[in-house]
Every structure is written in structure tokens, then in C-alpha cells.
């Protein structure tokens, strides 16, 4: 193996696409990076690893776990070795995501208006009716510029042949973009000079692009619309991200209690009285947005917000009700949507999906459960999943009972062996499985995707679970120019 100083312990797993190595050879796009490490020693890498931890801690890039009234600060584990994606691969990813988002938006507009896709029997009506994210309150509501998914994070994985699959479309309140930005800030501290040397494309534009879109979405004819970011508050696990984005965009970070609706207009309470708000980038889920219309116990939302929105006096980003397009059961219909609305062939692949409320699918899945993953259609964070290959007979039996109680809430997919990339763990460079979440911004002038994204890493050897809540970490993602 070349670069044996670092890669003596690097063993590619069978049936896995390794992004750095192919049968013991280093892929061309990783060579420059590895060469630049030549002068470093393993001890240097350990120092870099320590420096990264210290920087995250002192910058307060942490999440807080509360116990006994005192917050315990934890850093989101960060791996120092960047993941590298070639320009060609990125072009493919970018085109695939744009195509997908165009279709998903057309689907959302259709489903809240004519429902042609149902009438044409492309998607069964029951699929929509049973989706918990379908908001009847949004039926017939025209949203500005017909855009429902202004900010999305599309999770991609690579199968054993290296082809890209969409694993999930996160359209509601996707998070992680602040880590994309902070991970990049970390890289130039850890590897001075390497970003320009490798011609890595910048992700710095993200907040500017987001703000440009948010300003353009204001309905009020004023020269300087007021944009706010609505957060559930400091106890939310993504609070760091909310503050980071608000600061980078220079907009107010508000909580529900800072806003009030009067005469179908939204105002924020300031020291000088009430000030009208034009655009709300909300990081609060649909059901908590307005206690008068949705969940009446919500303390996070604003009473009357929905009607202000319906009147067109405020823009809510992302649009309420767009979760119907990222339901895991609706997911399988995205290729059909692309063909139906765009008359195009899907660029990115979709993982075959089985419905647990379909008896044949159910039997097929439990017949080869060791090769399957079962998920909740509305789950996130990797919770409530069953991974067949890693579960005991008892766990499988218990899960089966759960599925039978409400089969519509579950889907199954064959286990995809996520691709692996080099990571620096326990003083050694070793392969670990990853996914990729690029962030797309859909504004009146089109869809833009900053070249990069959040690479999430399953830090445990052999693990395929990348969620931060379950032992996952992240790393910087380089898209080469």
C-alpha cells in the first residue's frame, strides 16, 4: 500500500465502495491530500485531533445535555480527515438534487391544489390521506412563487458500485448546515494551505444565498423587509445552528414569545414597541407553529400565525405542510413524480422500498429480514429503526409486533452498504461508513446548492448508523473545482 506510514491499518471492507482506495490503489483525487501529509507524523495527526476538540469547545460549538440543573457540554464528534468529492461526481449530484426538488415542489403544489397525480393514479390517494404531514389547512393555499421547499437537505449514500442513492429528502427543517460551515473553518486551522492547493470549492456563500432568498420572499412592498429566524429556544439541540445562521445573516433570532399577531399581521416585541415581520425562517415544526390551528398545547409558536400567513402578510419558510413530500412512504414515488411532472428520467437512484401495509411486501421483508432495514415513515435521528443484520431474534419479533399494530407507519428497504472513507480514529487511519447531506436553497431565481454538505460518519467500526444521536460524527466535505 502506498503512503504506508499512514495507511498500514487501512483495510477496505468487502462489498463496500471505498472513496479513497480501489483494490489497494489510492484514487487520484485523494493523492494530493495524502502527499501533503507526507511530512507529518502520526503524532502530528494526534495533535491536530486535539486541537480540533479544543477549538470546538472554546468556540462553544457544543450541544448541552442537562442533568442536575448543570449543563454538560458535548462536542459533536469531528473527524479531521476531509472527505473528497470530484468535480464530476458533484455535477452529477447537483443535477440530480435539482431535478428532484423541482419535481417535489410540483408535487406539493399539485397535492395542495388539483391533485392531478392522484387522479391520474400515479400515487394512491390513501398514501396522501394517511400521511401525518399532510396539512388539510394548506389545501388551496397559494404560496409565494409556488415554492414549498426553500431549504432542504438531501441525504445521499453510495452503494457498493459507487452509484449515488437518495436515502431521504429532508424538507421540513433540515439541520446540519452550521456544521458544514464550522467543519470547513476547522480545516484551514488543521491543514493550513491545503484548501487552495487542492482547489476546494468554497461553502462560505451559504448564509448570503439564504438571506438573498429570504428577502426575495417578502410579500410586502418595502425596501428592507424584516426577516427573522424562529427557534424553539436554547434547549433545542440545533440551537447552535440557529444562532450561527441568524448571526451570519444579520437577522433577529426570535422565539415564539417574541412574536405577536395583530390584525393578521405578525409583529416582534422590541424595546421601541411592535415591529412588523415579513419573513419567518422557522426552525419550529408545523404542528407547533400556531396553537390556534395546530397543536393547542404548543408554547413554541405564535397564536394567529397561520391566518397571517394565509392572508399573505407574512412568508413562512419552509412552507407548512411540505412534510408530505418527505414522508418515507411517499419517497418511493419520487421517480414516478419526476417522470410525471418533468418528463425526465431520474438522475439519482432511489432505494427500493417495501410497504409494511402491503401483505406481500411484509412477508418478503420478514422473509429476509437480515438484509433489511425497517424504518418509521415519520421517524428521524435514526430512532425507531430496526437493522436486520444487527438485531437479535427477540428484537426482530418485538419489532414485528410493533409493525403489525400500525403497518402504514413503517417501510422497509434493503440494507445499503454505505461507502467508506478514511477517518482518524484511535491514532490510526481507518475506513468508516458515511453519508452526505448537501443543502439546497430554492428561491425565486432557482435552485442553488453550495458545493459541499455535511458528511456524517458512523464512528463505530462496521456501523452503518451515522446519526449524531447514535454515535455518529461528521467531517469536512471537499468538492474539488
Amino acid at each position: 500500500m502506498p503512503f504506508s506510514k499512514f495507511l498500514a491499518n487501512y483495510h477496505e471492507s468487502p462489498h463496500t465502495w471505498d472513496e479513497m482506495c480501489a483494490h489497494g490503489e489510492i484514487r487520484a483525487h485523494y493523492k494530493l491530500f495524502l502527499e501533503s501529509l507526507e511530512k507529518a507524523s502520526m503524532v502530528d495527526l494526534i495533535h491536530k485531533d486535539d486541537l480540533a476538540k479544543k477549538l470546538f469547545m472554546s468556540q462553544g460549538i457544543t450541544f448541552t445535555v442537562y442533568s442536575d440543573g448543570e449543563g454538560i457540554e458535548k462536542i459533536f464528534p469531528f473527524d479531521i480527515i476531509p472527505r473528497i468529492i470530484t468535480a464530476v461526481e458533484w455535477t452529477h449530484i447537483e443535477a440530480g438534487i435539482k431535478q428532484r426538488l423541482r419535481a417535489l415542489n410540483l408535487f406539493l403544489k399539485d397535492i395542495y391544489h388539483e391533485q392531478a397525480i392522484v387522479k391520474d393514479k400515479i400515487i394512491p390517494a390513501s398514501m396522501i390521506q394517511s400521511c401525518p404531514y399532510f396539512l388539510k389547512e394548506m389545501v388551496g393555499v397559494d404560496v409565494p412563487f409556488d415554492i414549498y421547499t426553500h431549504i432542504s437537505g438531501i441525504d445521499l449514500i453510495r452503494d457498493s458500485d459507487g452509484s449515488y442513492y437518495v436515502l431521504e429528502d429532508n424538507l421540513r427543517t433540515p439541520s446540519g448546515v452550521s456544521y458544514m460551515l464550522e467543519n470547513r473553518n476547522m480545516t484551514y486551522r488543521l491543514f493550513p494551505g491545503l484548501l487552495p492547493k487542492n482547489n476546494v470549492r468554497s461553502v462560505k456563500d451559504y448564509p448570503d444565498l439564504l438571506l438573498k432568498n429570504l428577502l426575495a420572499l417578502s410579500n410586502r412592498q418595502v425596501s428592507n423587509p424584516t426577516v427573522v429566524l424562529l427557534t424553539p429556544g436554547i434547549f433545542n439541540s440545533a440551537y447552535f445552528e440557529h444562532t450561527t445562521l441568524a448571526r451570519l445573516m444579520g437577522v433577529e433570532l426570535v422565539e415564539g414569545k417574541d412574536l405577536v399577531v395583530h390584525d393578521f399581521k405578525v409583529y416582534m416585541k422590541t424595546t421601541a414597541g411592535l415591529k412588523q415581520v415579513d419573513v419567518i425562517y422557522r426552525r419550529v415544526d408545523d404542528e407547533f407553529l400556531d396553537p390556534l390551528v395546530f397543536n393547542p398545547t404548543s408554547m413554541l409558536g405564535v397564536s394567529g400565525l397561520y391566518y397571517a400567513y394565509r392572508k399573505g402578510n407574512v412568508s413562512i419558510i419552509n412552507a407548512p405542510g411540505n412534510g408530505v413530500a418527505d414522508d418515507k412512504a411517499v419517497y418511493t414515488f419520487v421517480p414516478a413524480m419526476i417522470k410525471y411532472y418533468l418528463k425526465e428520467e431520474p438522475i439519482l437512484k432511489t432505494v427500493p422500498t417495501y410497504y409494511m401495509d402491503n401483505r406481500e411486501h411484509f412477508d418478503h421483508v420478514f422473509g429476509q429480514i437480515r438484509k433489511m432495514v425497517i424504518k418509521k415513515t415519520n421517524g428521524s435521528g435514526g430512532y425507531g429503526m430496526l437493522m436486520g443484520h444487527a438485531s437479535s431474534d427477540q428484537e426482530i419479533e418485538d419489532y414485528k409486533v410493533e409493525v403489525q399494530k400500525d403497518p402504514r407507519q413503517f417501510i422497509a428497504q434493503p440494507m445499503i452498504q454505505l461507502s467508506s472513507v478514511p477517518c482518524f480514529i484511535d491514532g490510526k487511519i481507518q475506513p468508516r461508513h458515511v453519508d452526505l447531506r448537501p443543502f439546497a436553497l430554492y428561491g425565486p431565481s432557482g435552485i442553488e446548492i453550495v458545493p459541499g454538505g455535511l458528511t456524517r460518519v458512523a464512528l463505530k467500526e462496521g456501523s452503518l448508523v451515522v446519526n449524531s444521536s447514535q454515535g455518529g460524527g461528521s467531517k469536512d466535505t471537499w468538492v474539488l473545482g
Binding site: 472554546s58 462553544g60 450561527t244 422565539e255 414569545k257 424595546t271
Partner: protein
Amino acid sequence: MLSRVADSVFWMARYLERTDNILRLLRTDYIAAQDELLDYDWQLLIDTFGDDTPENKLTVSSYREALQHLVLHRQHDYSIFTNIVRVRENARSVQDYITKELWQSLNDFFHTIRNPETENLILHNDPVTALDILLRESIIFYGTVDTTMSRGEGYTFLNLGKYIERCLQTLDILEFKRKQMVKAENEAVHWKYLLYALSGYEFHTKAYRNSLHDKEVIHQVLYNAQFPHSVIYSLAQMDRYFQRLEDFSQPEHFKEINNIIKMMAESVQTYQKKEYVAVIDQLIPDLRLQFANLNQRLSTLYFGNS
């Protein structure tokens, strides 16, 4: 600016100023107890600056125990540790508003007091080193505010909070020193440590050129407009910063708070005409009441609390 943000910035500054003042007092009194006031009453310190509710009242038998309680205690409502947690929690809720540098300086402060070495110094080694390290963090905070914060409303509320708290702390420390004097054989030494605790001893030697007359110490602490911990200086700063809010305020709100601040300054001027030592016992409770009213009205008119 958002009322909630103004509120948090205001309280962030108040907790930080409280921390700074208590740290200075502890440093001074610890050194005094080591070298001069050998019968220092640590219980009195705990009774004054600790939790005085009957169920939480604590009896201490050693200086380390007192320091442990007032600096490091994690549940005790009045400890430096709790104060810093509150500073940071307030800062966290306005993290988008304050500068990144300021957030980082507070975050470092938080990690410093949680550092096991800080505890080790206080419990087993030289507490002065620990107090110096902590004081340095608060100085970094003020420096960071000065060099990075824009001079907008946030800066104004921050300074308003700072000087309100400073004035209250000066009153508290003055009262505490008076209590110590009651029990002491040599009163003068406590006047000296009062000045040390308020970082005003060197100023006193230069400005008054005298061997610590009580009237002159009181003059400095209450009425000397050049002394940055004096009551009159703090009130003047409150007034100065509050005036900047005129353009950002609803006129009737501005007028009401403005009147309260002006009346406080006037009442201090009235006290200045009276006999210095005897008047302290009236001035302290009177000003505290006026501060309570000011806080309550600020909270309602500017911070959106009912």
C-alpha cells in the same frame, strides 16, 4: 431590538458585574485574613453574600469552606459558579446578537471555573491564584465588549445593567464592611479593605493624601465622581447610557425611566449635604428601594415583562 434580547443582555451584564465585584471582595478579604485580620469572621461573609434563607443557611468553619461555597458551589444560588452559568445562559440566548468574540470570552470564563485546577487551587493551594485567573476572565469580557460590540442598543442595555449592578454592589460591600467594623477593635483597617475591595485604595492615597479618615473614604465611595466604583459615578453612567435610548424608545417610556434615574441622582446629592457617617444607614436602604423600582419599571417598559 427585541425586548427579550435587551432583557438578556441587561442581565448578562448584571451577573457579570456581580461576579467581578464579589471576586474582588473575596480576593481582598482572603488576603486580609491571611495577614492582618487574623480573626476574620467568615461566617459573617457567608451570611451577607450567601443564601440567607433559613433552610439553606450554611455554617462554615474555615476559610476554604467559605470560598468553596461562595465561588465553586454548583447549586448555591449566590455562588460565582452559578453567576457565570447565568451569564453564559443569558449570552447563549442572545448569541446571535452579541459578537462571536464576546460569546467565546464568556464560554472560556465558563470553562475556566469548571476547570478542576481552579477548584484545586481554591481547596488545596493558593486561592489568590484562582481568583486572579477568574478576574482576568472578567477583564477579558469587558475588553471584548469594548473592542467588538457595536455602540447600539445592546451596548447601552449592557452598560445600564453593568452600572446598576455596580452601584448595588458598592452599597452591599459598604454595608458589609460596616457590619465588620461593629465587631472590630480597629475600625480604620476595615475602611482600608473596603477601598481595596472596590479597587480604590491607590486612588485614595493619591486623591485624599491622608491616612484614611472615615469621612473621606465615604466621600470617595459615595460621592467622588472620578472613582469608578462610587455611587455617584455609577448613577452618572446609568444616566449617560440611558440618554442614548431616547431615539429608540417610546417617548412616555423614556420619560418615566429618565425621571427615576434623575431622582436617584438628586437624592444622593441631598444626602451629600448631610453628616457622612450617620447618613449611610438611611442612604443604603433608600437607594435600594429606588433601584428595585427602576428595575421593575425597566422590566415592564423595555423588556416586555408584565
